[in-house]
Each structure stands twice: as structure tokens, then as C-alpha cells.
């Protein structure tokens, strides 16, 4: 990662990621938090791309940016009581939050400083090796994770159906 443009790009993307993350935590409104999450994830995808991890970057885009963040947005917008644009979402318990932050940040920083910096990552395409690994060596973990996800999916559908079954009881306040 040398050269002016990549360095600039890195700073830009890092700033975007951090600002996005800060937005998620500090934004006054749920929907804006969700959009900030999108920005943070997008920044992450950019950093993957800078690191020449093309498949990771694209998958990050596909799954997290295109899928998860849209899903989160969906969920947030459909939440009852989300109401109009002006609704507040104050950040509660700043002290507790700070403690958790420190608890995570210190090990993370320690880990980061122990990492060797400035190593060139391989420029080879990573698609084929990753594909081989997923369908070869790691096929069992891969499948186990798939089953887990499937179970989660079925559970989610079940929950959602139960909720839809009786629409009269739905405590809807949207549009208020």
C-alpha cells in the first residue's frame, strides 16, 4: 500500500468508516444510525479493496452493504413508533458505553500494534483459492455455518408469521 492515491484513499475510507461507526452510536435517530451503518460497512469494503482482497471487498458489498444494511433499514423503518423523521433516539448510559468501548478498544489496539505493518498483500485473484478452500478443506465448517444460518432463517420466518397471524393486535403507530 504505497503511493499517494492509495494512501489518500485509505485515509478517506478510514475516515468514512470511523465517521459511520460514530454515526451509528451517536446519531439522534434510528434511521440515520442505520444509514451510518451502511457508510461504515461501505468504508470497510473499500479498505478490503485497497488491501487487494477483491473477493472479500465484493462480498462485503454484496452481503453487508446490499443485504444486511438494507435489511436493517427495512427493520428500522418498519419498527413501530419510528414515526416521523424528527423522532429522537438518545444514546443512553454513556458511562457504561464508554466502559464497553474501552474493554474492546484496548485489546484491539494491542493486537493492531503487534501486527507487522506495510506488508504487500498478494495481487493474485483470490476467488479460486477461496472457492477451493471453502469446498475442500473447510467444507464441514462451511456447511455447519450454513445450517446455523438456515435455522436462524426458519426461526425468523416463524416469528414473523406468528406476528402476522393476528393483525388486529399489532401495536402499529406508523404514520402518527
Amino acid at each position: 500500500m504505497t503511493g499517494t492515491v492509495p494512501t489518500l484513499a485509505f485515509w478517506g475510507l478510514a475516515l468514512l468508516t470511523i465517521a459511520g461507526a460514530a454515526g451509528v452510536a451517536l446519531s439522534g435517530h434510528m434511521v440515520r444510525s442505520a444509514f451510518s451503518l451502511f457508510a461504515a460497512l461501505f468504508g470497510m469494503a473499500g479498505i478490503y479493496a485497497l488491501l487487494q482482497a477483491d473477493l472479500m471487498a465484493v462480498v462485503q458489498l454484496l452481503v453487508y452493504v446490499g443485504g444486511i444494511s438494507v435489511l436493517v433499514l427495512f427493520a428500522v423503518m418498519l419498527t413501530s413508533g419510528i414515526g416521523r423523521v424528527g423522532t429522537d433516539n438518545p444514546s443512553h448510559r454513556p458511562i457504561g458505553g464508554l466502559l464497553v468501548l474501552l474493554a474492546v478498544l484496548i485489546p484491539a489496539l494491542g493486537l493492531a500494534f503487534r501486527m507487522p505493518l506495510g506488508i504487500e498483500s498478494p495481487a493474485d485473484p483470490t476467488v479460486a483459492p477461496i472457492g477451493d478452500a471453502l469446498l475442500g478443506r473447510f467444507v464441514l465448517p462451511f456447511e455447519v455455518v450454513s445450517v446455523l444460518l438456515l435455522a436462524a432463517l426458519v426461526g425468523a420466518v416463524n416469528l414473523a408469521r406468528g406476528w402476522r397471524r393476528d393483525p388486529e393486535e399489532r401495536p402499529s403507530e406508523e404514520g402518527r
Partner: protein
Amino acid sequence: MTGADLAARITAAIPDAVVAVEESPTDPVVQVRPEVLHAVAAFARQDLGMETLRLITAIDRPPETIDVVWHCLSMPQHRTLTLKTRLPRENPVVATVSDLWDAANWFEREQFDLVGVHFVGHPNLKRLLMPEDWVGHPLRKDYQRPEEYHGIPTARDRVVPVREVAPPMHGPKAAEQDGWMLLNMGPHHPATHGVLNFLLQTDGEIVRKATPDVGYLHRGIEKIAEMNTYAGTMPYTDRVDYLGGMATNQAWAMACERLLGVEVPRRGEFLRVIAVELNRIASHLIGTGSLAMDLGAFTPFVHWLREREYINDLMERICGARLTYTYMRIGGVARDIDRETLDRTLQWLDHFEPMLGEFDRLIGSNEIFVNRLANIAVMPAEAAMSFSLVGPNLRGSGVRWDLRRDEPYSVYPELEFDVPVGRGFRGTVGDAYDRFMVRMLEMQESARILRQAIARIPDGEFRAKVPRVLKPPAREAYGRVEAPRGEAGFYVVSNGTERPERVRIRTGCFTAMPAIESLSPGLMVADIIALIGSLDVIAPEVDR
């Protein structure tokens, strides 16, 4: 069955109900006491089989009374019954019949609004056409028009700068009830075809209820007619149904001819038939085309506008105008037709009939279109009659009722045509696709009628001699024709002067509006658009 027979049957069931009987070849009138009105109406509905309520009219007759008239109809028996009652003017109170006929709900609201008759037991007796905070009842004879309403002058001559107009014209039309999202569809919305408003209570895309909010185009044509001569009202009838002006023209002319006892010459009748059938095609072109446009297909609409342009050109040759025809006159039509116009009509029909097939290929049998309409907003025949739906909307529900055939007028009995009805072309009888298809088939029938009428048109006078000043004797008449949007009727009460005492306009769209309200629950937002389009509702007919 004559009026006396009907009165006898009513008396047998409810003694002392009948006050008087007026015989009439079309609509025998039975006058009843106001206290027993509901009982008589229930008897008529259940035992006499009057499953349709055509019209409720209140007539202000100062200084003493307000007359209220109910026009009932039994379609299977081809029988009508007109109930009349006389209420004191200071306290006009009568029982509601909205529990017997669905159509009565809006009729009663309208008469409450405009004449100030209270219908006891009505579920929602609020103003319909006028704003809710309006003062007075405009169709009362002693009504004084206010100078201004919320700072807006009511007279055209006083032009005010825009800034003077106070903004709060309407409060919220309905509370956001039950936590459902409230959507205002209209007054300016691409799919409401004019200035209509629908208050949608939605649960996401699913509509819980669509409440029509009408009156944005209320111009008070009934009131204008009271201030105008019989002949001078003719131009206003164009404006009742701007897409089917010929038919409303004819209805008004027929009502006045019945009052005056004027006979229309045969050539005049043929000219009327030609004009009305051309107009019916033009109107159905807009109806079906805009339905396609509402569902997202723009091309069919433009194609139909092109065909309508030909009709407009023919109309221009026939009567001189393209939209507001004012072609009919009391006793005939305004001007004769020339051979050239007839030839051109035939030429156009040659072009148009293949176009119907093309339209069907382009959109009518398109699978997406079919699936958008089939089994949507199903109106069963019973409900259609109770809601007093008329015309293609009624026939779409499978009821074979066409005034041209069932209450024959003009020269229609001499002409051969079918009455297409909905029969579940792609789904259930009475769904939106049936209503669409009935309109398509009616265009074909109209083309058939046109060819016959052009072939048989006789020579002779096209207009009867009528006096310059029309003073019909004091009586009443109900002229009704099969307009493109169903029955267009003018119920006229004359008082022996140049000006009518009361004019009541019955239009197809007015009764279709409450039907939308009742069909809406459970539909999706996009289906509401299909529903409005398939009923072919246009705003001026609702508000008049």
C-alpha cells in the same frame, strides 16, 4: 302494474299509509304518510321486489312543505314505484332507508346537505358536497348565497389578489384512526381522474378502507337549472358528464319533452341515436384506455385517444363542438347531419373495428393486465343492485339491464343489438376485468347500432316545432337514458313557469362512489386504482 294496484298492495300491508296516488305511464307515484315511510319502503323492498333505489329527491316547496321522493325500481319485474311524502318545512324529518338500500346512504346525505332534510337513523348524516362548516342548504328556495367563505369571495366578479385568500380551507378530513396509516389519494392524483379525493387507511400496501371525499367539483347544476329556462339548461347538461355529453343532453331533452308532451320527429331520433352511440364509443375509449394507463400501460391510452380524435372530428361536423356538444334541443336536435359525415362515420367504423381487436391483443388479453383485474373488487349482482350501480358497472356484475332495451326509448326498439354482461371472462362474475370487458363489447355493439342507424336514417324533419318560450304545465317528469356511465336521468318538477321548480340529476358515478368504499377493504393500493378505473368514475358526474 298501475299506481292504484301498487297503492292497494301497500294499503293491504300497511293500512292508512297511502295518502294519494298519481298515475303515470312510466313512474306511478304513491304518496304516503311520512310516519310510515320506512315501513312502506321495507314493504316495497321485500315484498314488491324493489331491490334498487334509483334516486331520492327532496323538493323545497315554500312556504309550507318539503316533498321527498323515492324512485324505486325492480329490474327483474320491469316495474317502478315512486314513493312521495310531504314534510313540514320547519322540521323536515323522515326515517332513513339506508338500512334497506346501500345507495340510500349517499342520496340521503346529499339531500340533507343541499335541502336540509333530516333522515333519522342515518349512520353518518354529514354534509357530502358542501364543506362541513357551510351554512345553509343551497337548494332551499330562500337560500342566500354568502358573500365569502373563509375569505374567498363566492362571486366571480370580485377578483381578489392571491395573498388575501386565507389558507385554512380544510381541516384534516379524517382522524388517523386505529393506528392505520392515512393516505390522501387526491384531490390531485394521477389515478383519480379529476378532482376526487380518497382517504385511504392503509396497513402497508393493504387498504383497510378507502373513503371517498367528494365535492371538489360541485358547481350546483341543479341550482343553476332552477334559475334557468328549460332550453337554457341544455348547455349545462354537457358539463354533468363531460365525456358523455350527448347522453345527458338527451336525458334532459327527454325529460322536458315528457313535461311538454312534444313528439320528436323520426329523423331527429335517428340523429340522436347516431350522436349518442358515437359518444358512447368515445367515452368507453377513455374509460378503457385510462384504465390501462392507470395500470401502467400508457400506449393503449394514446391509441384510444387517437380513435377518439376521429370521433371528435365527426362530432365537430355533426354539432360544431368537440366536447361540450349541446346538440340536442327540446323536440329534436340542433342541426341536421350531412351525407358526407355519415360516410365518414362508416369509413371510420371500418378502421375502428380492427382496432378493437388490436387493443385486445395489445392490452386486453395481456397476462399482466388480466391478472391485475381478474378477481379484483368483485361486485356481486345483489350488491350491485342495492348500490344502484348502473350501466357497464351493473352489467359487469352480470345483470342484464340496459335502458335502451328494458325501458325502450327513441328508436332503439327498431335496432338490433346485444346487451353484453359480465360472465367471469377471466375470473369471477363482477370483477374489474368483467367491467372492462363489458365496455369493450359495448363499443362493438355501438358500432353495430351505428351501422344500422346510418343505413336506416329516414328523411324529414329533424326537429319538432316548439314554442320559443317553454312553459310546461305543473307536473313532473323523469327522463332517463342509457348513458356511457349508465343511467343518466333528469327528474324535473315544473311549476307552470318558464323555470323548473326542481331539477334532480341522477348519474351513474354518484352511486359508484359508495361502492368503492364498500369494495375497498382488503385491496392493495394499486388495486384501488384498478377499482376506480374499472368503475370509470369521473368527478363532475359525482359532484355535478
